[in-house]
């Protein structure tokens, strides 16, 4: 029965009549199609549920689908050279105070994203090293200061300048000294400016400081030749190279340039039949030692003895004066006879900062008539100008209170000076302390003012690393923060109204005009120089200065006890880039350790003292540190890397490892890396985790790195590679070979050239947005590097032979990974690439298991925007380094080397637009582009005369694990050691 609604009694009756008599139902819905309840302005329970349902789902939909607002502001006036999506390259130079490299900066949408080697440089010839590759990340370091600082507070440049000018004139009035403490400065324009500044401030003094000094070498050359210089070396011309604690392929002087030269004389392709032979005498296994044909472990205190014996052997033969000395612990007859056979084509170098030792080295080189041939005093190297005596004097003066002002540029003595405590206490007595640091490092923290410097990619400058070879530093980006470059600060305080770029240009103009470096207009010359990034001018003197013999004597006392050897790691160096996560996570080429330093001990010492990997020892009671048993570590020595233990580097580098600088050895006032006698005590029951990327160091007799010796190779080019012939012969398959049409990309790696320096690892990381995952995950063996360098040992653990083998995706034509992926996320391109479709990958990881090379990487976590992985990809600033051409991978997908497919596509597009075929060598993949040893070739395997095809034709060619019939597109060339058969 329907309810009857009524307003009045009449109405009720009327309604009732209509219901009962007319039997017309009261309409449930009004003609407007409205619900009854709606008519009455009320909502029923059903409506309420409807509304509820709608609003909840609407809210859920809207809130969950909302994308974060990203602001993009179009350019009002688009600069002519800026085309979105097209990179620009600027020639520049890397110089951090220790190491020099000529570079090209790749910028996209006006931000530098990658460093490439500059092919035009006659020194580095397109090579870089890991530190250079990683330096682009320093630009986007969150630890960078965003403003100048005064008394610990942010300030403006105007205020700062006023304050400093006032204080400087005050000091001038007081008659106190102002000291400008800098790193080695190789910029001619900066030197001119500093000299001008010194002239303006008569009380000012300029001191250059190198954490790892090479002053002894300058002193020895001063004594022998009357020139306090570091001569230029040519490793390419040397057939016999003998190194004494000089890691010239890794960290000594100009490793990139030296590697280029060294590798040039080690190549055997194209029918070349001779290569250099290298001897290395060293106190810890260095990169150079790992590549040497003959390596000997010596105690630091024995270096002098060995050298003097070597000198005597040579002098006996050449009829020069010999000196009495105790017998050498190592038989030197072979090296002496090799050297004598190669007079004028040999090279002896020592990295020890000891005048006595350097004098012996000079005498040997003189006896071998190497000066003017492999050593050139007329084009000296300008690096390492630091004067440790002057620094020592400065610290004394500071402590005595006679220094009124201290200007610190590009050095961090509160951390890396071996008497940092004395320096720090001296600083307290200095009135005005100005730092030109770009981060609040250990020294800057103690300073009154921090005149925040540009990053080098924001700066103008020039460099003359070797006399006659100039190079330009030019900004690739506008300063990101409110910073000012060091030189501009000096100019401002000198009251000058020009900036440093104009100053530099003017300086060049005068010099170039005076010396006649150009014909025509200067502007043209200047633009060309800036374009090339490098400029060489001729040195006309060819005569080497006369050699004045000096009496040779040993200054080092004979060692007793455990001698400590400090060394620079390839990635970390002296600790200037310790906050760079790429470098911290780069596996050390020798130890394969990341994120820490550790005490390298010999296996004999470990057995004697019951020490195992990760056991903690205390060194001199100064600090506790884990040990790592290093094959090739000479008995009686332990080794420790510098550059760690920083307290104010930034979030990545703070408190990583221990600081070794206070443990420097001093002999006659000269700070030396090696030789300090230390006491080591095991801290019982304490271990400290180390993150190593390789735990097994033996090839297990498998034909992985194939090697031969030069005499064997000359007899039979297939020597050491017999397995390849066997496998080729027995390679049978039912299936036809994959046919490619026009393009088949391939890569070749010459194991004889590769030094294992790991430049390619970082180059690949920078190019391909490879994530940093932190120590814990590296320890879990999850490093993301697409390219790794496997390092194996053979022979004895006292003095092993070392093998370096870069391994990345081999791009197999019969790839095991491809047929096991259930969703076909990894597949083969028509150009022979094994490609990954990230957004198809569901992460079953079957491909990882089935890859015999284990080059596939899984995104175990979300590595971007994740506070647990607080590295560059978790920072708005740090993310600016990402290459926009390469996808940033999501959690749960597999990734791996793509053979830089983005570079291939880019050049293919260019060729297509220009309607031509791809040129040979036009495409350079990231690892190949900056390889200082030119060990990697990439190109079209179908083109018979391409560099890679020529390598494939070599008898030394083999594929890794070729018996598995994976048919890799990547090939290797056997390693040839130049040893007696």
């Amino acid at each position: 029965m329907e309810k009857i609604y009524w307003q009045s009694l009449e109405n009720y009756k009327e309604n009732q009549a209509s219901v009962l008599e007319k039997r017309e139902p009261v309409p449930e819905f009004s003609i407007e199609g409205l619900d009854e309840s709606e008519v009455k302005g009320k909502s029923s329970r059903r409506d309420f549920l409807k509304m509820l349902g709608f609003s909840v789902s609407a809210v859920a939909l809207v809130s969950s689908c909302q994308m974060p607002v990203r602001k993009a502001i179009p350019l009002l006036n688009q600069p002519e050279e800026l085309i979105p999506g097209i990179p620009n390259y600027f020639a520049s130079s890397f110089f951090d105070g220790d190491d020099y490299c000529s570079i090209l900066v790749k910028t996209r949408e006006n931000r530098p994203i990658k460093i490439e080697g500059n092919d035009l440089s006659p020194l580095t010839k397109g090579g870089t090293n890991a530190k250079v590759q990683a330096s682009v990340l320093n630009l986007y370091d969150d630890a960078r200061l965003k403003n100048p600082y005064l008394n610990g507070n942010e300030t403006t440049w105007q205020e700062l300048d006023e304050e400093i000018s006032a204080q400087l004139s005050q000091i001038k009035a007081s008659g106190k000294k102002i000291v400008l403490l800098t790193s080695t400065i190789i910029s001619p324009s900066t030197v001119a400016l500093i000299n001008e500044f010194l002239a303006n401030n008569p009380h000012a003094q300029w001191v250059q400081f190198d954490p790892v000094s090479m002053a002894a070498m300058r002193k020895a050359n001063d004594l022998n030749f009357g020139q306090p210089v570091i001569p230029n070396y040519n490793f390419a011309k040397a057939n016999i190279i003998v190194g004494f604690n000089a890691d010239y392929l890794g960290t000594w002087l100009m490793p990139t340039a030296f590697t280029k030269q060294y590798a040039a004389n080690r190549k055997l392709n194209g029918g070349k039949r001779n290569m250099s032979r290298s001897y290395q005498f060293e106190s810890t296994l260095s990169l150079t030692g790992s590549n040497a044909d003959y390596r000997y472990g010596i105690k630091p205190s024995d270096e002098g003895v060995v050298l003097l014996n070597l000198y005597n052997l040579i002098a006996k033969s050449t009829g020069a004066e010999t000196y009495p000395t105790e017998a050498s612990p190592i038989d030197l007859n072979q090296v002496a006879s090799d050297l004598l056979k190669n007079k004028g084509q040999s090279l002896v170098v020592s990295g020890t900062n000891d005048t006595g030792i350097q004098l012996i080295v000079n005498a040997i080189n003189h006896q071998l008539t190497n000066y003017g041939k492999t050593i050139d005093l007329n084009t000296p190297i300008n690096l390492k100008q630091g004067d440790h005596e002057a620094v020592e004097a400065l610290v004394k003066e500071m402590n005595s209170g006679t220094v009124g002002g201290l200007l610190v540029y590009n050095v961090n003595p509160a951390y890396d000076y071996y008497q940092a405590e004395a320096f720090k206490s001296g600083m307290e007595k200095v009135g005005l302390k100005i730092s030109f640091s770009d981060t609040m490092n250990e020294t800057a923290k103690l300073c009154t003012a921090v005149c925040t410097n540009h990053n080098y990619l924001e700066s103008w400058g020039d460099a003359e690393p070797i006399k006659g070879h100039r190079s330009i530093i030019q900004p690739a980006i506008r300063p990101i923060f409110n910073t000012r470059q060091f030189e501009d600060s000096l100019l401002a305080w000198m009251g000058s109204n020009i900036d440093f770029s104009s100053y530099m240009e003017k300086n060049w103009e005068t010099e170039a005009t005076d010396l006649g470096w150009f014909s025509g207009a200067f502007t043209q010359f200047w633009n060309q120089t800036k374009h090339d990034g490098v400029f060489s001018y001729p040195i006309n003197t060819t005569e080497q200065p006369a050699f004045a013999a000096q009496p040779l004597k040993l200054t080092k006392p004979a060692g007793n006890g455990i001698e400590l050897v400090l060394y620079e790691k390839i990635a970390i160096g002296t600790g200037k880039h310790t906050n760079n996560p790429w470098l911290l996570e780069m596996p050390d080429p020798i130890t394969k350790a990341t994120w820490d330093n550790y005490l390298c001990i010999s296996s004999k010492y470990a057995t004697e003292h019951g020490l195992a990997l990760e056991d903690v020892v205390s060194v001199n009671g100064l600090f506790e540190i884990p040990v790592l048993i290093q094959p090739g570590q000479p008995d009686g020595t332990v080794a420790l890397a510098l550059g760690f233990g920083r307290t104010d580097a930034g979030k990545a580098g703070n408190n990583v490892g221990q600081n070794g600088f206070p443990l420097m050895n001093t002999v006659q006032g000269a700070p030396q890396l090696a030789g300090k006698v230390v006491t080591i005590e095991k801290v019982n029951g304490k271990t400290y985790p180390l993150a190593l990327t390789q735990m097994h160091h033996d090839m297990e007799g498998r034909p992985i790195v194939r090697e031969t010796t030069l005499p064997e190779y000359l007899q039979d080019p297939y020597s050491g590679n017999e397995q390849h012939l066997f496998d080729e012969k027995h390679n049978v398959t039912l299936y036809s070979k994959v046919q490619y049409d026009g393009l088949h990309w391939g890569m070749s790696i010459d194991l004889n050239s590769c030094t294992g320096c790991s430049n390619c690892v970082i180059a690949c990381q920078a190019e391909n947005n490879v994530a940093v995952i932190g120590k814990e995950q590296v320890r879990n063996r999850r490093i993301m590097h697409w390219m790794r360098i496997d390092r194996y040992y053979s022979r004895t653990e006292d003095n092993p032979e070392v093998y370096h083998m870069p391994v990345m995706c081999q791009h197999c034509d019969n790839a095991p990974c491809e047929n096991v992926c259930p969703v076909a996320a990894t597949n083969h391109s028509t150009e022979g690439l094994n490609q990954m479709a990230y957004n198809r990958c569901i992460g079953t990881r079957y491909c990882i298991n089935n890859c015999p090379y284990k080059v596939r990487r899984f995104n175990w976590f979300e590595f971007t925007n994740n506070n647990k992985f607080d590295f560059n990809m978790n920072s708005e600033l740090g993310k600016m380094v990402l290459n926009p051409d390469v996808t940033v991978r999501q959690r749960g997908v597999v990734e791996k080397c793509s053979l830089c497919v983005q570079r291939i596509q880019e050049k293919k597009l260019v060729a297509k637009m220009e309607n031509r075929e791809l040129r040979e060598g036009e495409i350079k993949v990231a690892c190949q582009q900056s390889c200082p040893a030119d060990a990697i070739q990439f190109g079209n395997l179908l083109k018979k005369d391409s560099a890679v095809s020529l390598m494939v034709k070599e008898e030394r060619m083999y594929h890794l694990l070729e018996h598995l019939h994976t048919l890799p597109s990547t090939s290797y060339l056997t390693k040839v050691r130049n040893t007696e058969a």
Partner: protein
């Protein structure tokens, strides 16, 4: 009645048809016992912990596991294969013993099939969880899509897995259910509760038990049985191909398909033994699941154990005979001696040696020892999968990449969670479903056998 020394009887206690119905259905109508609540509580706790493991994995990433660049499969795959293996028992029991005319299977097949269902459910969770991007997991199904000519990779054993396991699950579930229809009808008739009558009535699809129904029922059971029989072989063969299709030394082995199938039946029978000993104890089913039944299973296990041992030896022989240094290393240096000795020898002892104790009648007759050995088999079979998955991956071709693998708490939680799921499933089965196939038992009530296991009883 037929108590002679010549012929053994399958069902003891001189049961009448109504005795069978009453005995089997008694637990269904009884009050839920305390032990049930306690076990279910524990199982739920295990599942809760497992859910945490699942949540942790899915929300944070596979990085919460102990896997690495070299060992990309670990516990999840081990457990997956282990559960699938256990899931073999039901169908193997019903089909193989049916083909072999082993009538004694009727007392056990229902429980074995139930075990299959829950084990396959537990197994199926792992491949899902194991995916890096579970939210895109549907990519694995071949469906028409808008992504152009993007289709699954039919070469991949993982795709075969998806097909094989889902088919197997479907077939086993159907077979199990169809077998239960007459029993549900029996419950409908017997139960006092109105609600239960409705539910079981619906579940029995209105079974009336006339000759026509029985005829169709028999035909359906036969058809399903025939369909399921090859699946028993195919599922684990295909699972084994996940390994044998690869190039990894220790995986790339042609013996794997039969070896895996036999292993699966071995572990399945082991688990059936464990379960039946529990079941007959708590529900006093000793008349139905007699010592003779257990004896028969142990005899089968002894035989399979011999096959397993032969397979292990064959693997070693093949590794040696191949002359491949990688194979030799994996088998002889890594498993037999070396870092994974413990796992390898646990496998050999639990699977190859301990079941050989069943040669002794005293041991076969001691139900406690039989129970313990059945547990050892389950452990041994788990270690077999551990040996296969982990030892092969952790040390493969390039020594520079060698890495060890240890599970994390998340992986352990996920495994424990699936054990909880399995137990809860079995408990539900105990509580609401006739654990012994009433109609089938009735059919063999008067049967006798010359099987040794049963004649020895007398």
């Amino acid at each position: 009645m037929y108590n002679t020394r010549v012929r053994g009887i399958l069902i003891k206690g001189d049961k009448s048809y109504s005795d069978v119905s009453r005995d089997v259905l008694r637990p269904l109508d009884a009050k839920t016992p305390i032990w049930w609540w306690v076990t279910a509580g524990l199982a739920i706790i295990a599942m809760a912990w497992g859910s945490w493991g699942f949540y942790n994995t899915i929300s944070t990433g596979i990085g919460t596991w102990g896997l690495n660049n070299n060992v990309a499969w670990g516990w999840a795959i081990i457990n997956f294969v282990w559960w699938i293996g256990i899931g073999h028992a039901g169908t193997a029991f019903s089909i193989f013993l049916l083909i072999l005319r082993q009538k004694w299977r009727t007392s056990i097949n229902r429980a074995a099939e139930a075990m299959t269902i829950f084990a396959v459910m537990a197994a199926g969770l792992f491949p899902l969880l194991h995916m890096g991007r579970i939210w895109d997991g549907f990519f694995i199904f071949p469906y028409w899509n808008t992504r152009g000519p993007l289709w699954d990779n039919f070469n991949s054993p993982l795709f075969w897995d998806v097909v094989a396991i889902s088919t197997y699950f479907m077939a086993s579930a159907l077979f199990w259910y169809v077998g239960m229809i007459p029993d549900f009808a029996t419950i409908r008739e017997k139960t006092a509760s109105k609600i239960k009558r409705k539910i079981y009535g619906a579940m029995s699809f209105g079974w009336v038990g006339n000759a026509k129904s029985w005829l169709r029922f028999e035909t359906a059971a036969l058809l399903l049985g025939g369909m399921a029989a090859p699946l028993v072989v195919s599922v684990h063969s295909i699972v084994s191909m996940d390994f044998s299709v690869s190039v990894v030394p220790g995986w790339h082995t042609t013996i794997f398909p039969p070896y895996f199938v036999i292993g699966a039946i071995f572990s399945g029978f082991g688990m059936v033994l464990t379960l039946m000993i529990v079941l007959r104890k708590i529900y006093s089913f000793k008349d139905y699941v007699t010592d003779g039944h257990l004896d028969a299973i142990t005899r089968i296990l002894t035989f399979i154990s011999l096959i397993m041992g032969t397979a292990y030896l064959t693997e070693l022989f093949t590794a040696w005979y191949s002359g491949s240094e990688y194979e030799l290393f994996t088998f002889l240096k890594n498993r037999v001696t070396g870092e994974y000795t413990f796992a390898y020898w646990t496998m050999i002892i639990c699977n190859g040696m301990i079941p050989q104790l069943f040669w002794f009648k005293k041991i076969r007759k001691n139900i406690t020892i039989v129970f313990i050995i059945s547990i050892f088999i389950n452990i041994g079979m788990w270690f077999e999968r551990y040996v296969i998955v982990v030892t092969s991956l952790s040390k493969d071709f390039l020594p520079a990449t060698w890495a060890t693998y240890e599970p994390t708490i998340t992986e352990v939680a996920a495994f424990v969670g699936t054990i909880g799921l399995f137990i809860l499933g079995v408990l539900a089965f105990f509580r609401w479903i006739p654990t012994i196939a009433i109609s089938e038992v009735k059919s063999v009530l008067k049967e006798t056998t010359t099987l040794k296991s049963f004649t020895d009883e007398n």
